[in-house]
Protein backbone atom coordinates (compact mmCIF):
# COMPACT_ATOMS: atom_id res chain seq x y z
CA UNK A 1 0.00 0.00 0.00
CA UNK A 2 1.44 3.35 -1.06
CA UNK A 3 2.02 5.62 1.91
CA UNK A 4 3.34 9.11 2.47
CA UNK A 5 6.81 7.93 3.41
CA UNK A 6 10.20 8.96 2.23
CA UNK A 7 11.58 6.46 -0.28
CA UNK A 8 14.68 4.76 1.02
CA UNK A 9 17.83 5.61 -0.84
CA UNK A 10 18.16 2.00 -1.94
CA UNK A 11 14.64 1.83 -3.36
CA UNK A 12 15.16 5.15 -5.05
CA UNK A 13 18.43 4.15 -6.68
CA UNK A 14 17.03 0.82 -7.78
CA UNK A 15 14.02 2.43 -9.39
CA UNK A 16 16.30 5.01 -10.94
CA UNK A 17 18.12 2.40 -12.96
CA UNK A 18 14.88 1.38 -14.63
CA UNK A 19 13.72 4.93 -15.17
CA UNK A 20 16.87 5.79 -17.07
CA UNK A 21 16.22 2.94 -19.48
CA UNK A 22 12.84 4.21 -20.66
CA UNK A 23 14.33 6.08 -23.61
CA UNK A 24 17.72 6.18 -25.21
CA UNK A 25 18.66 9.60 -23.86
CA UNK A 26 18.50 8.14 -20.33
CA UNK A 27 21.91 6.60 -20.80
CA UNK A 28 23.77 9.92 -21.00
CA UNK A 29 26.84 9.86 -18.71
CA UNK A 30 25.97 13.25 -17.19
CA UNK A 31 22.98 11.59 -15.54
CA UNK A 32 25.39 10.01 -13.11
CA UNK A 33 25.10 11.84 -9.79
CA UNK A 34 28.87 11.98 -9.61
CA UNK A 35 28.70 14.32 -12.57
CA UNK A 36 25.35 16.05 -12.10
CA UNK A 37 25.91 17.13 -8.49
CA UNK A 38 29.18 18.94 -9.14
CA UNK A 39 27.63 20.46 -12.25
CA UNK A 40 24.66 21.81 -10.33
CA UNK A 41 26.95 23.08 -7.58
CA UNK A 42 28.93 25.02 -10.14
CA UNK A 43 26.07 27.07 -11.49
CA UNK A 44 25.93 30.67 -10.29
CA UNK A 45 23.34 31.65 -7.68
CA UNK A 46 21.66 33.92 -10.18
CA UNK A 47 20.75 30.91 -12.28
CA UNK A 48 19.41 28.82 -9.39
CA UNK A 49 15.63 28.95 -9.31
CA UNK A 50 15.30 28.21 -5.62
CA UNK A 51 17.76 30.87 -4.55
CA UNK A 52 16.36 33.56 -6.81
CA UNK A 53 12.86 32.88 -5.50
CA UNK A 54 13.95 33.01 -1.87
CA UNK A 55 15.53 36.39 -2.47
CA UNK A 56 12.43 37.70 -4.19
CA UNK A 57 10.35 36.63 -1.21
CA UNK A 58 12.63 38.54 1.14
CA UNK A 59 12.50 41.60 -1.10
CA UNK A 60 8.71 41.46 -1.35
CA UNK A 61 8.75 41.69 -5.13
CA UNK A 62 6.80 39.74 -7.74
CA UNK A 63 8.93 38.19 -10.49
CA UNK A 64 7.57 37.17 -13.86
CA UNK A 65 7.79 34.03 -15.93
CA UNK A 66 6.14 33.26 -19.26
CA UNK A 67 5.16 29.90 -20.77
CA UNK A 68 7.05 28.88 -23.88
CA UNK A 69 8.42 25.95 -25.79
CA UNK A 70 9.00 24.88 -29.38
CA UNK A 71 10.14 21.65 -30.96
CA UNK A 72 13.52 22.52 -32.46
CA UNK A 73 16.47 23.07 -30.12
CA UNK A 74 18.01 26.21 -31.56
CA UNK A 75 14.62 27.80 -32.08
CA UNK A 76 13.82 27.09 -28.47
CA UNK A 77 17.01 28.79 -27.31
CA UNK A 78 16.26 31.81 -29.49
CA UNK A 79 12.77 31.94 -28.06
CA UNK A 80 13.94 31.90 -24.46
CA UNK A 81 16.53 34.57 -25.15
CA UNK A 82 13.94 36.86 -26.63
CA UNK A 83 11.74 36.37 -23.58
CA UNK A 84 14.61 37.33 -21.29
CA UNK A 85 15.13 40.43 -23.41
CA UNK A 86 11.46 41.23 -22.91
CA UNK A 87 12.01 41.11 -19.15
CA UNK A 88 11.36 37.53 -18.01
CA UNK A 89 12.96 36.90 -14.60
CA UNK A 90 12.67 33.14 -15.07
CA UNK A 91 12.26 31.13 -18.23
CA UNK A 92 10.21 27.99 -18.67
CA UNK A 93 10.48 25.20 -21.05
CA UNK A 94 6.94 24.13 -21.70
CA UNK A 95 7.06 20.48 -22.68
CA UNK A 96 5.04 19.20 -25.65
CA UNK A 97 2.00 16.99 -25.17
CA UNK A 98 3.53 13.82 -26.61
CA UNK A 99 6.41 13.92 -24.15
CA UNK A 100 3.87 14.48 -21.39
CA UNK A 101 2.29 11.18 -22.33
CA UNK A 102 5.75 9.55 -22.66
CA UNK A 103 5.15 9.13 -26.39
CA UNK A 104 8.75 9.77 -27.38
CA UNK A 105 8.39 8.23 -30.81
CA UNK A 106 5.68 10.69 -31.79
CA UNK A 107 7.72 13.52 -30.28
CA UNK A 108 10.66 12.49 -32.46
CA UNK A 109 8.41 12.64 -35.51
CA UNK A 110 7.20 16.07 -34.37
CA UNK A 111 10.77 17.38 -34.21
CA UNK A 112 11.52 16.12 -37.69
CA UNK A 113 8.34 17.49 -39.21
CA UNK A 114 8.97 20.83 -37.52
CA UNK A 115 12.42 21.01 -39.06
CA UNK A 116 10.94 20.36 -42.47
CA UNK A 117 7.93 22.65 -42.09
CA UNK A 118 10.01 25.45 -40.56
CA UNK A 119 7.41 25.93 -37.86
CA UNK A 120 6.85 24.03 -34.64
CA UNK A 121 4.47 21.13 -35.16
CA UNK A 122 4.71 20.40 -31.44
CA UNK A 123 3.10 22.51 -28.74
CA UNK A 124 6.22 22.46 -26.63
CA UNK A 125 9.86 21.48 -26.17
CA UNK A 126 10.44 17.71 -26.23
CA UNK A 127 13.08 17.69 -23.50
CA UNK A 128 13.47 13.93 -23.22
CA UNK A 129 14.17 13.56 -26.92
CA UNK A 130 16.66 16.41 -26.82
CA UNK A 131 18.28 14.75 -23.83
CA UNK A 132 20.93 16.15 -21.49
CA UNK A 133 22.99 17.50 -24.36
CA UNK A 134 20.10 19.54 -25.69
CA UNK A 135 18.82 20.66 -22.31
CA UNK A 136 22.28 21.69 -21.17
CA UNK A 137 22.74 23.66 -24.32
CA UNK A 138 19.54 25.50 -23.52
CA UNK A 139 20.64 26.14 -19.96
CA UNK A 140 24.07 27.35 -20.90
CA UNK A 141 22.69 29.75 -23.47
CA UNK A 142 20.36 31.64 -21.17
CA UNK A 143 21.09 33.96 -18.28
CA UNK A 144 18.26 33.17 -15.84
CA UNK A 145 17.01 30.02 -14.07
CA UNK A 146 14.98 27.49 -16.06
CA UNK A 147 11.97 25.45 -15.07
CA UNK A 148 10.25 22.59 -16.83
CA UNK A 149 6.48 23.06 -17.11
CA UNK A 150 4.41 20.21 -18.41
CA UNK A 151 1.48 18.20 -17.08
CA UNK A 152 3.06 14.81 -17.07
CA UNK A 153 1.66 11.92 -15.05
CA UNK A 154 5.02 10.10 -15.26
CA UNK A 155 7.75 12.72 -15.36
CA UNK A 156 10.52 10.64 -13.83
CA UNK A 157 12.84 10.47 -16.82
CA UNK A 158 12.01 14.04 -17.82
CA UNK A 159 12.89 15.25 -14.33
CA UNK A 160 16.17 13.33 -14.30
CA UNK A 161 17.21 14.87 -17.58
CA UNK A 162 16.29 18.46 -16.81
CA UNK A 163 17.84 18.59 -13.36
CA UNK A 164 21.09 17.04 -14.56
CA UNK A 165 21.09 19.75 -17.24
CA UNK A 166 21.03 22.58 -14.72
CA UNK A 167 17.30 23.30 -14.71
CA UNK A 168 16.62 23.98 -11.05
CA UNK A 169 12.86 23.93 -10.96
CA UNK A 170 10.19 21.45 -11.94
CA UNK A 171 6.46 22.02 -12.01
CA UNK A 172 3.89 19.40 -11.16
CA UNK A 173 2.67 16.90 -8.63
CA UNK A 174 0.88 13.61 -8.21
CA UNK A 175 -2.54 15.24 -8.11
CA UNK A 176 -2.07 18.45 -10.04
CA UNK A 177 -0.43 16.75 -13.02
CA UNK A 178 -2.91 13.94 -13.04
CA UNK A 179 -6.49 15.08 -12.41
CA UNK A 180 -6.44 17.97 -14.93
CA UNK A 181 -4.03 16.27 -17.34
CA UNK A 182 -5.04 12.63 -17.63
CA UNK A 183 -8.08 10.47 -18.16
CA UNK A 184 -7.29 7.03 -16.88
CA UNK A 185 -4.11 7.10 -14.87
CA UNK A 186 -4.73 6.25 -11.24
CA UNK A 187 -3.72 8.61 -8.46
CA UNK A 188 -1.76 5.79 -6.91
CA UNK A 189 0.41 5.66 -10.03
CA UNK A 190 0.98 9.38 -10.35
CA UNK A 191 1.60 9.96 -6.66
CA UNK A 192 4.15 7.18 -6.76
CA UNK A 193 5.80 8.71 -9.83
CA UNK A 194 5.88 12.10 -8.21
CA UNK A 195 7.28 10.70 -4.98
CA UNK A 196 10.18 9.65 -7.17
CA UNK A 197 10.46 13.11 -8.73
CA UNK A 198 10.42 14.70 -5.29
CA UNK A 199 12.83 12.13 -3.94
CA UNK A 200 15.21 13.03 -6.73
CA UNK A 201 15.08 16.66 -5.62
CA UNK A 202 15.47 15.54 -2.01
CA UNK A 203 18.54 13.57 -3.05
CA UNK A 204 20.04 16.68 -4.57
CA UNK A 205 19.14 18.67 -1.43
CA UNK A 206 20.90 16.03 0.67
CA UNK A 207 23.95 16.60 -1.49
CA UNK A 208 24.03 20.35 -1.19
CA UNK A 209 22.06 21.37 -4.25
CA UNK A 210 18.83 23.26 -3.74
CA UNK A 211 16.12 22.78 -6.34
CA UNK A 212 12.69 24.35 -6.46
CA UNK A 213 9.48 22.36 -6.82
CA UNK A 214 6.17 23.86 -7.83
CA UNK A 215 2.87 22.03 -7.60
CA UNK A 216 0.53 23.19 -10.37
CA UNK A 217 -1.97 25.49 -8.73
CA UNK A 218 -4.64 26.30 -11.29
CA UNK A 219 -5.66 22.65 -11.92
CA UNK A 220 -8.26 22.91 -14.71
CA UNK A 221 -7.93 26.69 -14.75
CA UNK A 222 -11.67 26.99 -14.89
CA UNK A 223 -13.67 28.36 -11.98
CA UNK A 224 -11.80 26.28 -9.42
CA UNK A 225 -12.90 27.35 -5.93
CA UNK A 226 -9.82 28.48 -3.98
CA UNK A 227 -10.36 25.98 -1.20
CA UNK A 228 -10.01 23.09 -3.64
CA UNK A 229 -6.84 24.26 -5.33
CA UNK A 230 -5.26 25.47 -2.10
CA UNK A 231 -5.93 22.10 -0.48
CA UNK A 232 -4.28 20.31 -3.38
CA UNK A 233 -1.29 22.66 -3.13
CA UNK A 234 -0.84 22.08 0.57
CA UNK A 235 -1.12 18.32 0.12
CA UNK A 236 1.49 18.31 -2.62
CA UNK A 237 3.76 20.51 -0.53
CA UNK A 238 3.50 17.99 2.33
CA UNK A 239 4.14 15.07 -0.02
CA UNK A 240 7.17 16.81 -1.52
CA UNK A 241 8.53 17.78 1.89
CA UNK A 242 8.34 14.18 2.99
CA UNK A 243 10.65 13.20 0.13
CA UNK A 244 13.15 15.86 1.12
CA UNK A 245 12.13 18.85 -0.98
CA UNK A 246 13.01 22.12 0.81
CA UNK A 247 12.08 24.89 -1.59
CA UNK A 248 8.43 24.87 -2.66
CA UNK A 249 6.33 27.31 -4.63
CA UNK A 250 2.60 26.84 -4.16
CA UNK A 251 0.35 28.20 -6.86
CA UNK A 252 -3.02 29.72 -7.53
CA UNK A 253 -4.84 30.59 -10.74
CA UNK A 254 -6.57 33.95 -10.77
CA UNK A 255 -10.30 33.70 -10.24
CA UNK A 256 -11.24 37.26 -11.15
CA UNK A 257 -12.57 38.76 -7.95
CA UNK A 258 -9.78 40.91 -6.58
CA UNK A 259 -10.53 40.34 -2.91
CA UNK A 260 -10.92 36.60 -3.31
CA UNK A 261 -7.73 36.34 -5.32
CA UNK A 262 -5.66 38.24 -2.80
CA UNK A 263 -7.25 36.32 0.05
CA UNK A 264 -6.47 33.05 -1.67
CA UNK A 265 -2.76 33.87 -2.09
CA UNK A 266 -2.46 35.04 1.50
CA UNK A 267 -4.28 32.00 2.85
CA UNK A 268 -2.22 29.72 0.64
CA UNK A 269 1.09 30.99 1.93
CA UNK A 270 0.03 31.03 5.56
CA UNK A 271 -1.59 27.61 5.56
CA UNK A 272 1.15 25.91 3.56
CA UNK A 273 3.73 27.17 6.03
CA UNK A 274 1.62 26.19 9.00
CA UNK A 275 0.79 22.69 7.72
CA UNK A 276 4.44 22.04 6.90
CA UNK A 277 5.36 23.18 10.37
CA UNK A 278 2.63 21.16 12.02
CA UNK A 279 3.80 17.97 10.31
CA UNK A 280 7.36 18.55 11.33
CA UNK A 281 9.03 19.69 8.14
CA UNK A 282 11.73 22.15 9.14
CA UNK A 283 13.77 24.70 7.19
CA UNK A 284 11.30 24.88 4.38
CA UNK A 285 11.16 27.91 2.12
CA UNK A 286 7.67 28.47 0.79
CA UNK A 287 6.94 30.96 -1.97
CA UNK A 288 3.81 31.59 -4.02
CA UNK A 289 3.03 31.79 -7.71
CA UNK A 290 0.04 33.62 -9.13
CA UNK A 291 -1.15 32.51 -12.56
CA UNK A 292 -2.68 35.17 -14.74
CA UNK A 293 -6.22 34.30 -15.78
CA UNK A 294 -6.18 30.60 -16.72
CA UNK A 295 -9.60 30.22 -18.33
CA UNK A 296 -10.76 31.07 -21.82
CA UNK A 297 -9.24 34.34 -23.04
CA UNK A 298 -10.82 37.08 -25.18
CA UNK A 299 -9.81 36.92 -28.85
CA UNK A 300 -9.10 40.62 -29.17
CA UNK A 301 -5.41 41.23 -28.48
CA UNK A 302 -5.92 44.57 -26.76
CA UNK A 303 -8.54 43.05 -24.48
CA UNK A 304 -6.20 40.13 -23.79
CA UNK A 305 -3.44 42.57 -22.86
CA UNK A 306 -5.92 44.33 -20.59
CA UNK A 307 -6.65 41.03 -18.88
CA UNK A 308 -2.94 40.25 -18.56
CA UNK A 309 -2.27 43.63 -16.99
CA UNK A 310 -5.23 43.40 -14.68
CA UNK A 311 -3.94 40.01 -13.52
CA UNK A 312 -0.61 41.69 -12.85
CA UNK A 313 -2.18 44.31 -10.62
CA UNK A 314 -3.78 41.61 -8.51
CA UNK A 315 -0.60 39.52 -8.37
CA UNK A 316 1.51 42.48 -7.31
CA UNK A 317 -0.92 43.62 -4.63
CA UNK A 318 -1.17 40.06 -3.31
CA UNK A 319 2.62 39.99 -2.98
CA UNK A 320 2.87 36.66 -4.77
CA UNK A 321 6.54 35.81 -5.30
CA UNK A 322 6.14 34.89 -8.94
CA UNK A 323 3.59 35.41 -11.65
CA UNK A 324 3.06 33.26 -14.73
CA UNK A 325 2.22 35.46 -17.69
CA UNK A 326 -0.02 34.92 -20.69
CA UNK A 327 0.16 36.46 -24.13
CA UNK A 328 -2.27 38.40 -26.32
CA UNK A 329 -2.47 35.30 -28.55
CA UNK A 330 -3.76 33.13 -25.70
CA UNK A 331 -7.22 32.44 -27.09
CA UNK A 332 -5.87 31.47 -30.48
CA UNK A 333 -2.72 29.44 -30.18
CA UNK A 334 0.81 29.05 -28.90
CA UNK A 335 2.15 32.62 -29.09
CA UNK A 336 4.93 33.90 -31.27
CA UNK A 337 7.99 35.12 -29.40
CA UNK A 338 6.85 38.65 -30.05
CA UNK A 339 3.33 38.14 -28.68
CA UNK A 340 4.78 36.37 -25.67
CA UNK A 341 7.11 39.33 -25.18
CA UNK A 342 4.20 41.74 -25.20
CA UNK A 343 2.62 39.81 -22.34
CA UNK A 344 5.85 39.92 -20.39
CA UNK A 345 6.45 43.62 -20.97
CA UNK A 346 2.96 44.68 -19.97
CA UNK A 347 3.09 42.42 -16.91
CA UNK A 348 6.53 43.46 -15.85
CA UNK A 349 5.69 47.13 -16.17
CA UNK A 350 2.70 46.74 -13.89
CA UNK A 351 4.36 44.68 -11.17
CA UNK A 352 7.31 47.04 -11.19
CA UNK A 353 5.09 50.05 -10.74
CA UNK A 354 3.30 48.40 -7.84
CA UNK A 355 6.27 46.86 -6.09
CA UNK A 356 6.17 49.22 -3.11
CA UNK A 357 2.44 48.88 -2.59
CA UNK A 358 0.21 46.35 -0.91
CA UNK A 359 -3.49 45.65 -0.61
CA UNK A 360 -4.73 47.27 2.61
CA UNK A 361 -5.94 45.10 5.44
CA UNK A 362 -9.71 45.15 5.59
CA UNK A 363 -12.59 43.29 7.13
CA UNK A 364 -13.66 42.00 3.74
CA UNK A 365 -10.23 40.60 3.02
CA UNK A 366 -9.89 39.11 6.48
CA UNK A 367 -13.27 37.45 6.19
CA UNK A 368 -12.47 35.90 2.85
CA UNK A 369 -9.12 34.67 4.13
CA UNK A 370 -10.85 33.14 7.13
CA UNK A 371 -13.47 31.60 4.86
CA UNK A 372 -10.88 29.97 2.60
CA UNK A 373 -8.79 28.81 5.54
CA UNK A 374 -11.70 27.17 7.28
CA UNK A 375 -12.70 25.43 4.05
CA UNK A 376 -9.18 24.18 3.51
CA UNK A 377 -8.95 22.98 7.10
CA UNK A 378 -12.18 21.06 6.65
CA UNK A 379 -10.94 19.44 3.45
CA UNK A 380 -7.55 18.59 4.96
CA UNK A 381 -9.25 17.04 7.99
CA UNK A 382 -11.52 15.01 5.76
CA UNK A 383 -8.57 13.76 3.73
CA UNK A 384 -6.53 12.75 6.77
CA UNK A 385 -9.56 11.10 8.31
CA UNK A 386 -10.43 9.01 5.29
CA UNK A 387 -6.76 8.06 4.95
CA UNK A 388 -6.57 6.99 8.55
CA UNK A 389 -3.84 9.51 9.14
CA UNK A 390 -1.90 8.78 5.96
CA UNK A 391 -1.93 11.52 3.41
CA UNK A 392 -1.38 9.40 0.31
CA UNK A 393 -4.15 6.99 1.19
CA UNK A 394 -6.25 9.96 2.20
CA UNK A 395 -5.85 11.57 -1.20
CA UNK A 396 -6.63 8.39 -3.09
CA UNK A 397 -9.76 7.69 -1.06
CA UNK A 398 -10.86 11.30 -0.93
CA UNK A 399 -10.90 11.46 -4.72
CA UNK A 400 -12.57 8.06 -4.92
CA UNK A 401 -15.36 9.29 -2.69
CA UNK A 402 -15.59 12.79 -4.12
CA UNK A 403 -14.40 14.32 -0.85
CA UNK A 404 -11.86 16.05 -3.05
CA UNK A 405 -13.27 16.88 -6.46
CA UNK A 406 -11.94 19.21 -9.13
CA UNK A 407 -14.45 20.92 -11.45
CA UNK A 408 -14.15 20.13 -15.17
CA UNK A 409 -11.34 17.66 -14.73
CA UNK A 410 -10.97 14.96 -17.41
CA UNK A 411 -9.80 12.19 -15.06
CA UNK A 412 -12.11 9.30 -14.39
CA UNK A 413 -10.58 9.14 -10.93
CA UNK A 414 -12.20 12.48 -10.21
CA UNK A 415 -15.85 12.43 -9.16
CA UNK A 416 -16.74 15.44 -11.28
CA UNK A 417 -19.78 16.32 -9.21
CA UNK A 418 -18.67 19.73 -8.01
CA UNK A 419 -20.03 22.64 -9.99
CA UNK A 420 -18.84 26.15 -9.33
CA UNK A 421 -20.61 29.44 -10.04
CA UNK A 422 -19.91 33.05 -9.28
CA UNK A 423 -21.73 35.07 -6.69
CA UNK A 424 -23.02 38.56 -7.27
CA UNK A 425 -19.60 40.16 -6.86
CA UNK A 426 -17.80 37.54 -8.90
CA UNK A 427 -16.38 35.42 -6.07
CA UNK A 428 -16.16 31.79 -7.16
CA UNK A 429 -18.56 29.80 -5.01
CA UNK A 430 -19.85 26.24 -5.12
CA UNK A 431 -23.22 25.46 -6.64
CA UNK A 432 -23.14 21.67 -6.49
CA UNK A 433 -21.02 20.03 -3.80
CA UNK A 434 -21.32 16.40 -4.72
CA UNK A 435 -19.59 14.75 -1.81
CA UNK A 436 -17.03 17.49 -1.26
CA UNK A 437 -15.72 17.31 2.31
CA UNK A 438 -17.19 20.53 3.60
CA UNK A 439 -19.47 20.97 6.62
CA UNK A 440 -23.03 22.20 6.33
CA UNK A 441 -22.31 25.69 7.66
CA UNK A 442 -19.84 26.32 4.87
CA UNK A 443 -22.17 24.94 2.25
CA UNK A 444 -24.91 27.23 3.50
CA UNK A 445 -22.63 30.22 2.99
CA UNK A 446 -21.95 29.25 -0.62
CA UNK A 447 -25.60 28.60 -1.32
CA UNK A 448 -26.65 31.92 0.16
CA UNK A 449 -24.12 33.78 -1.93
CA UNK A 450 -25.21 32.12 -5.14
CA UNK A 451 -28.85 32.66 -4.28
CA UNK A 452 -28.14 36.37 -3.90
CA UNK A 453 -26.86 36.46 -7.44
CA UNK A 454 -29.65 34.39 -8.92
CA UNK A 455 -32.20 36.66 -7.28
CA UNK A 456 -30.42 39.72 -8.61
CA UNK A 457 -30.52 38.23 -12.08
CA UNK A 458 -34.05 36.97 -11.54
CA UNK A 459 -33.30 33.47 -12.68
CA UNK A 460 -33.11 29.93 -11.44
CA UNK A 461 -30.08 28.38 -9.82
CA UNK A 462 -28.89 25.81 -12.34
CA UNK A 463 -25.94 24.53 -14.32
CA UNK A 464 -26.67 27.35 -16.74
CA UNK A 465 -25.00 29.72 -14.26
CA UNK A 466 -21.83 27.65 -14.50
CA UNK A 467 -21.92 27.54 -18.29
CA UNK A 468 -22.47 31.27 -18.54
CA UNK A 469 -19.61 31.88 -16.12
CA UNK A 470 -17.26 29.62 -18.08
CA UNK A 471 -17.89 31.64 -21.23
CA UNK A 472 -18.09 35.07 -19.61
CA UNK A 473 -14.48 36.31 -19.49
CA UNK A 474 -13.78 35.49 -23.13
CA UNK A 475 -16.77 37.71 -23.89
CA UNK A 476 -15.66 40.59 -21.69
CA UNK A 477 -17.57 39.90 -18.49
CA UNK A 478 -16.62 38.30 -15.23
CA UNK A 479 -20.06 37.14 -14.22
CA UNK A 480 -22.12 35.36 -16.87
CA UNK A 481 -25.29 37.31 -16.25
CA UNK A 482 -28.33 35.78 -17.88
CA UNK A 483 -29.71 37.59 -20.85
CA UNK A 484 -31.94 40.35 -19.55
Amino acid sequence: MLLNKKMSEADFLAEREKVLQAWKTGSHPDLDFSRSIPYLKSIPESKNFAIKLSKAKQGGVTLVQPRAGVAVLDDHIQLLKSLIDAGADFVPSTIDSYTRQNRYVEAERGIQESQIAHRSMLNGFPAVNHGVDGCKKVFENVSVPIQARHGTPDARLLSEIIHASGWTSNEGGGISYNIPYAKSVSLETTIKNWQYVDRLVGYYEDHGVTINREPFGPLTGTLVPPCISNTVQIIEALLAAEQGVKNITVGYGMGGNVVQDIAAIKALLRQTESYLHRYGYKNMIVTTVFHQWMGGFPADEAAATGLISMSSVVAALSKATKMITKSPHESVGVPTAEANGIGIKASKFVVNLLKDQHFPESMELQMEIAQIESEVDALMDAVFTVGDGDLVQGVIKAFEQGILDVPFAPSKFNAGKVLPARDNEGFIRILEFGNLGLPEVIKAHHRAKIRERAEFEKRDISFQLTIDDVNAVANGHLIGRGRK
Binding site: Y98, M121, P335, F408, N471
Partner: protein
Protein backbone atom coordinates in the same frame (compact mmCIF):
# COMPACT_ATOMS: atom_id res chain seq x y z
CA UNK B 1 -33.09 11.34 -32.41
CA UNK B 2 -29.93 11.77 -34.48
CA UNK B 3 -26.68 10.67 -32.89
CA UNK B 4 -23.47 12.66 -32.73
CA UNK B 5 -20.13 11.42 -31.44
CA UNK B 6 -18.05 14.05 -29.70
CA UNK B 7 -14.62 13.91 -28.14
CA UNK B 8 -11.16 15.44 -27.94
CA UNK B 9 -8.56 13.83 -30.16
CA UNK B 10 -4.98 12.78 -29.53
CA UNK B 11 -3.00 13.49 -26.38
CA UNK B 12 -5.27 16.44 -25.69
CA UNK B 13 -6.87 16.81 -22.26
CA UNK B 14 -8.82 20.05 -22.64
CA UNK B 15 -12.08 18.95 -21.08
CA UNK B 16 -14.06 22.14 -20.51
CA UNK B 17 -15.21 22.82 -24.05
CA UNK B 18 -16.08 19.14 -24.43
CA UNK B 19 -18.43 19.30 -21.45
CA UNK B 20 -20.07 22.40 -22.84
CA UNK B 21 -20.52 20.84 -26.27
CA UNK B 22 -22.10 17.79 -24.64
CA UNK B 23 -24.54 19.95 -22.70
CA UNK B 24 -25.40 22.17 -25.66
CA UNK B 25 -25.98 19.40 -28.22
CA UNK B 26 -27.99 17.37 -25.74
CA UNK B 27 -30.13 20.42 -25.03
CA UNK B 28 -30.54 20.92 -28.76
CA UNK B 29 -32.12 17.50 -28.97
CA UNK B 30 -29.34 15.22 -30.18
CA UNK B 31 -28.24 11.88 -28.84
CA UNK B 32 -24.69 12.70 -27.77
CA UNK B 33 -22.04 10.02 -27.39
CA UNK B 34 -19.18 11.69 -25.57
CA UNK B 35 -15.95 9.71 -25.68
CA UNK B 36 -14.14 12.48 -23.77
CA UNK B 37 -10.55 13.59 -23.95
CA UNK B 38 -7.46 11.66 -25.04
CA UNK B 39 -9.40 9.83 -27.73
CA UNK B 40 -7.91 8.15 -30.78
CA UNK B 41 -9.36 8.12 -34.30
CA UNK B 42 -10.37 4.53 -33.65
CA UNK B 43 -12.26 5.51 -30.49
CA UNK B 44 -14.29 8.03 -32.48
CA UNK B 45 -15.00 5.60 -35.32
CA UNK B 46 -15.94 2.69 -33.09
CA UNK B 47 -18.32 4.88 -31.12
CA UNK B 48 -19.90 6.16 -34.34
CA UNK B 49 -20.43 2.67 -35.71
CA UNK B 50 -21.89 1.45 -32.45
CA UNK B 51 -24.35 4.35 -32.18
CA UNK B 52 -25.07 4.59 -35.90
CA UNK B 53 -24.10 8.25 -35.67
CA UNK B 54 -24.38 10.76 -38.52
CA UNK B 55 -21.71 13.12 -37.35
CA UNK B 56 -18.34 12.91 -35.64
CA UNK B 57 -17.46 16.19 -34.05
CA UNK B 58 -13.76 16.28 -33.29
CA UNK B 59 -12.34 18.81 -30.87
CA UNK B 60 -8.67 19.60 -30.83
CA UNK B 61 -7.44 22.36 -28.60
CA UNK B 62 -3.84 21.72 -27.79
CA UNK B 63 -2.29 22.31 -31.21
CA UNK B 64 -1.45 18.84 -32.46
CA UNK B 65 -4.70 18.59 -34.40
CA UNK B 66 -2.97 18.47 -37.72
CA UNK B 67 -0.92 15.42 -36.83
CA UNK B 68 -3.77 13.75 -34.95
CA UNK B 69 -6.43 14.14 -37.65
CA UNK B 70 -4.45 12.91 -40.63
CA UNK B 71 -5.96 9.86 -42.34
CA UNK B 72 -9.18 9.96 -40.34
CA UNK B 73 -11.44 10.07 -43.42
CA UNK B 74 -9.50 7.14 -44.83
CA UNK B 75 -10.07 5.15 -41.65
CA UNK B 76 -13.80 5.98 -41.79
CA UNK B 77 -13.96 4.64 -45.33
CA UNK B 78 -12.11 1.50 -44.34
CA UNK B 79 -14.54 1.02 -41.46
CA UNK B 80 -17.55 1.32 -43.75
CA UNK B 81 -18.74 4.76 -42.60
CA UNK B 82 -17.05 6.69 -45.38
CA UNK B 83 -19.85 9.20 -45.81
CA UNK B 84 -20.25 10.22 -42.17
CA UNK B 85 -19.98 13.96 -41.50
CA UNK B 86 -16.65 14.96 -39.99
CA UNK B 87 -16.35 18.31 -38.22
CA UNK B 88 -13.29 19.64 -36.49
CA UNK B 89 -12.89 22.73 -34.31
CA UNK B 90 -11.11 24.27 -31.36
CA UNK B 91 -7.51 25.48 -31.66
CA UNK B 92 -6.64 22.97 -34.32
CA UNK B 93 -3.09 24.01 -35.23
CA UNK B 94 -0.10 25.34 -33.34
CA UNK B 95 -0.10 29.12 -33.04
CA UNK B 96 -1.89 31.94 -34.80
CA UNK B 97 -1.99 30.94 -38.48
CA UNK B 98 -3.91 32.27 -41.42
CA UNK B 99 -7.19 30.41 -41.03
CA UNK B 100 -8.14 30.10 -44.68
CA UNK B 101 -4.98 28.08 -45.27
CA UNK B 102 -5.58 25.98 -42.19
CA UNK B 103 -9.10 25.30 -43.33
CA UNK B 104 -7.87 24.12 -46.73
CA UNK B 105 -5.49 21.68 -45.11
CA UNK B 106 -8.27 20.09 -43.07
CA UNK B 107 -10.79 20.09 -45.93
CA UNK B 108 -8.22 18.23 -47.98
CA UNK B 109 -7.93 15.68 -45.18
CA UNK B 110 -11.63 15.00 -45.75
CA UNK B 111 -13.29 17.04 -43.04
CA UNK B 112 -16.64 18.52 -44.05
CA UNK B 113 -16.48 21.54 -41.77
CA UNK B 114 -13.55 23.22 -40.12
CA UNK B 115 -13.95 25.89 -37.41
CA UNK B 116 -11.57 28.61 -36.24
CA UNK B 117 -10.70 29.36 -32.62
CA UNK B 118 -13.31 31.31 -30.72
CA UNK B 119 -16.29 29.73 -32.49
CA UNK B 120 -18.50 28.49 -29.70
CA UNK B 121 -20.59 25.42 -30.32
CA UNK B 122 -23.78 27.51 -30.42
CA UNK B 123 -22.55 29.09 -33.60
CA UNK B 124 -22.22 25.69 -35.25
CA UNK B 125 -25.72 24.49 -34.36
CA UNK B 126 -27.12 25.80 -37.62
CA UNK B 127 -24.58 23.92 -39.71
CA UNK B 128 -25.40 20.74 -37.85
CA UNK B 129 -29.11 21.27 -38.46
CA UNK B 130 -28.46 21.87 -42.14
CA UNK B 131 -26.21 18.85 -42.60
CA UNK B 132 -28.21 16.33 -40.56
CA UNK B 133 -31.59 17.59 -41.77
CA UNK B 134 -34.71 18.87 -39.95
Amino acid sequence: MKSIVIGVIGADVHAVGNKIIDYTLTNAGYNVINIGVLSSQEDFINAAIEADAELILVSSLYGHGEIDCRGMRQKCIESGIGDIFLYVGGNIVVGKQDFSEVKQRFLQMGFNRVYPPGISIDMALNDIKNDLGE
